[in-house]
């Protein structure tokens, strides 16, 4: 009696029929690979250096934003003439916290309100959040992408391994001005005299 996938199965006890060798080979190979992926993913969490789980805390928007403002007040850099450094039409402050310090970024429509300056090879504790709606934290060119949510303090330790001028773009739609939302981040190496050039770039050390 013939049948196809569109007809009821005529054989009784079809679940007892033997599985062919081709299917067995494939299921074994496929599931072996699945388990490799599982072990690898868990292994990377414990042994790898790039994991975005971090910690998260519920916060109030006002409380978190106040912490960012305090950080700016305390650590905003000054240029050679002694005036506070900022960039862009909206005067985003350039901020350098001490090595190992806390960097607060409370994104808002449509800006990342601080420009952090980091030292190469040092670890900083980033606190990422939003003052209004969901935003994306897309760090380029290394292409690290994180989700910022209002009311959540997303805590991650960043250890930059290359000097340079990094860019941020928001990659979560956050309103009609979404495409104007960019940010910036510097990684310098003071020990090797790779420092800010005061004109929106870095200089020295042959860089």
């Amino acid at each position: 009696m013939s049948y196809t996938s569109l007809q009821p199965i005529p054989q009784r006890h079809w679940w007892r029929l033997r599985v062919g060798p081709d299917e067995k080979i494939w299921i074994t190979a496929a599931y072996a690979w699945c388990l490799v992926m599982l072990v690898w993913m868990v292994g990377w969490f414990f042994l790898g250096n790039q994991n975005q789980v971090g910690n998260a805390y519920r916060v109030t928007i006002d409380g978190f934003t106040a912490k960012m403002d305090q950080m700016v007040e305390k650590y905003q850099l000054k240029d050679a003439s002694g005036s506070l450094m900022s960039e862009g039409d909206n005067d985003i402050p350039v901020v350098q916290v001490p090595v190992g310090g806390n960097v607060f970024i409370a994104a808002r429509q449509f800006e990342f309100p601080v420009i952090p300056v980091l030292e190469l090879g040092k670890t900083y504790v980033f606190h990422l959040s939003s003052q209004d709606v969901d935003h994306g934290f897309s760090l380029l060119p290394i292409n690290v992408n994180l989700q910022l949510l209002p009311g959540y303090d997303y805590v991650l330790r960043f250890t930059p391994n290359k000097t340079g001028v990094y860019r941020l773009t928001c990659n979560e739609y956050c309103g009609l001005g979404h495409h104007t939302m960019t940010g910036k981040l510097y990684v310098i190496d003071t020990a090797n005299k790779i420092v800010l050039d005061g004109k929106g770039g870095i200089t020295g050390g042959g860089a």
């Binding site: 569109l6 690898w40 993913m41 990377w44 292409n143 992408n145 209002p150 391994n161 773009t169 495409h179």
Partner: protein, 574 residues
């Protein structure tokens, strides 16, 4: 076969296709027609909106102003991801739960009620989007707020889409009571049963998240937690796409049966693969949350791996058994030469086959590989919310589901209407153009994502940004190729829409006894005449399919480790 088909009860409620011998419940024929007609209109609307999006993200064209771009993008997502696929799905679910088991649909009136709910819901939501009152994207993450009617439209649609899941269950119970078939239900009906169970979970999640959000939009609830919303929203939205997968795999098995008289290599294996979906597929909704603040490592690991990759295993099994069924049927018909004669001599000029097989290949190689890779926790942060994401789901929803639906339409519409397929020349081109165009979009979009190009973004030259920034010339070029692919793919969809709408609305009525155009070699007829009578296969009989699968696995392994290799070069993040 004759003995299986002989159990038709209430013959007055059926029309029997003189060519295939399939018995079609009369109310189901009408439901299939109206659902496909409506779904195709949604595809047309969604396609036009998508064209606007593509022509804007094509850097040199940059067609729409920003406000309209975001409106078009929101509308495109809703129209195709929700309305097109799910209205189509419901229509063919009624077919799969009745015809293969000679059943009558339980309460067709309620099916019509569900149809009107979906249609009204879709209309309300679409109008609010087009009025610019709901420019919040398909995902509508609070605290971004849309007009309350937008949420109401989505809720009505979700309720409408929930009803058919219960109708599927009720129909199966009724069929069992009326003993309309002997033995175990066909694989295709089993697939739709799985679809229905996942649908219940999915649309209930929709109510759980959309009703509070609707109340919030009216000011009746003070606050929706943004993380909680994302968790439950994706339990809805990811699962809606998992429903598509279940249904388009059911379509693959069906078309293999129709075209080649194929059956599963082993019923137990194929059904187990569906059951794995049932238990593990929805866990995948956490893929959207891997770069979010609010969840733990253990929770992410359990869910993102589908409880140790059970659903991935299910997909990989179908990846062998679908082509394997064809290979076995073809080899038994004498096409035994080499590894691939069975495939080479398949009816490639028949859009039912070309659409089906392209869907299988593109879904596996593009949608599947990108999906499995990006759902690894650490890799996810290198693609989250980049252009990689839409590229991936065009690999699944466009070249997978939509292409399978296109191929299936060319079979089911002539079957239920008894009309000749209109414009078969356009139909033949449509599958190739759509598949290759959307495949190009997906592949190049993935490349753009690897360069960090953001999704849902109007202007990657950042002309108006406070802190200037631009992507490399390479990124612009890749986006250009991707969007040209999308536009070309759109023509494929247009050819399909013209062919199917013309068939539905004015196709030539077939004389009795004439095979529905393009369904030859009519596998069901072939199966009745030559179909294998032996039980399931024994030896290593599908080497060609096994080789295809191994190639896929090698691609996946190489691509996967390439991502981790890149990851190891960037900043320490912990």
């Amino acid at each position: 076969m004759a003995t299986i088909m002989a159990t038709l009860r209430n013959p007055q409620d059926f029309t029997t296709c003189p060519d295939t011998g399939l018995n079609i419940n009369k109310p189901v024929a009408n439901l299939v027609k109206i659902h496909i007609l409506t779904a195709v209109m949604m595809l047309l609307a969604g396609g036009i909106l998508g064209l606007g999006v593509a022509l804007t993200r094509w850097p040199a064209v940059h067609l729409l102003p920003s406000e309209w771009f975001y409106i078009f993008l929101t509308g495109h997502g809703a129209a195709v991801l929700l309305f097109w696929v799910h209205i189509f799905s419901v229509g063919i679910a009624y077919f799969f739960v009745t015809t293969p088991i000679n059943a009558r649909l339980a309460t067709p009136k309620i099916a019509w009620l569900s149809y009107w709910l979906m249609l009204i819901g879709a209309a309300i939501a679409t109008v609010m989007v087009l009025l610019g009152q709901a420019t919040v994207m398909f995902s509508a993450y609070p605290p971004l707020k849309a007009h309350p009617l937008f949420y109401l439209g989505v809720i009505l649609f979700a309720v409408g889409a929930l009803v058919p899941a219960f109708l599927v269950l009720a129909t199966l119970v009724k069929a069992k009571n009326e003993r309309t078939f002997k033995g175990s239900m066909p694989l295709t009906t089993f697939g739709v049963l799985i679809w229905a169970i996942i649908a219940i979970f999915t649309w209930v999640m929709g109510a759980v998240i959309m009703i509070p959000t609707w109340l919030w939009s009216m000011g009746l609830i003070a606050n929706i937690d943004p993380q909680l919303y994302r968790v439950i929203f994706w339990a809805l939205a990811h699962s809606t796409q998992q429903m598509n997968i279940v249904l388009h795999i059911t379509i693959w098995y069906t078309l293999a049966a129709v075209l080649f008289g194929a059956r599963p290599l082993n019923e137990k294996v194929s059904r187990t693969a569906f059951v794995l979906y049932l238990f593990a597929l929805q866990l995948g909704s956490v893929h959207h949350l891997l770069s979010d603040p609010g969840t733990s490592f253990t929770w992410r690991t359990f869910n993102t791996s589908y409880a140790a990759y059970l659903a991935v295993l299910g997909s990989l099994i179908h990846g062998l058994t679908v082509p394997g069924g064809i290979e076995l049927a073809q080899r038994r018909r004498g096409l035994t030469h080499g590894l691939f004669e069975w495939l080479r001599k398949a009816p490639w000029d028949n859009p039912i086959f070309s659409g089906f097989f392209l869907s299988l290949i593109l879904f596996g190689f593009i949608g599947g590989i990108s999906g499995v890779t990006m759902s690894n926790q650490q890799i996810n942060m290198t693609v989250h919310n980049t252009f990689y994401v839409p590229a991936h789901f065009h690999g699944t929803v466009a070249t997978g589901t939509t292409l399978a639906f296109i191929a299936f339409s060319y079979w089911i519409v002539p079957l239920v209407t008894r009309r000749k397929l209109a414009y078969p020349g356009l139909a033949k081109m449509s599958t190739w153009i759509f598949g290759l165009g959307m495949g190009t979009f997906a592949l190049f979009g993935m490349a753009a994502g690897h360069l960090g190009v953001p999704r849902r973004h109007w202007d990657i030259t950042y002309a108006d940004a406070a802190l200037p920034f631009d992507f490399s010339a390479m990124a612009h070029m890749i986006m250009t190729v991707a969007e040209i692919g999308a536009v070309i793919g759109g023509f494929g969809a247009l050819f399909y829409i013209i062919s199917i709408l013309s068939t539905l609305l004015g196709g030539k009525v077939l004389a009795k006894g004439a095979l529905p155009a393009l369904a030859e070699p009519a596998g069901l007829v072939a199966a009745r005449m030559h179909g294998g009578t032996e039980p399931q296969h024994k030896g290593l009989e599908v080497p060609g399919s096994l080789v295809l699968c191994m190639v896929l696995l090698v691609f996946l392994i190489v691509y996967y480790f390439a991502q981790y290799k890149y990851l190891a070069t960037i900043w320490g993040i912990s």
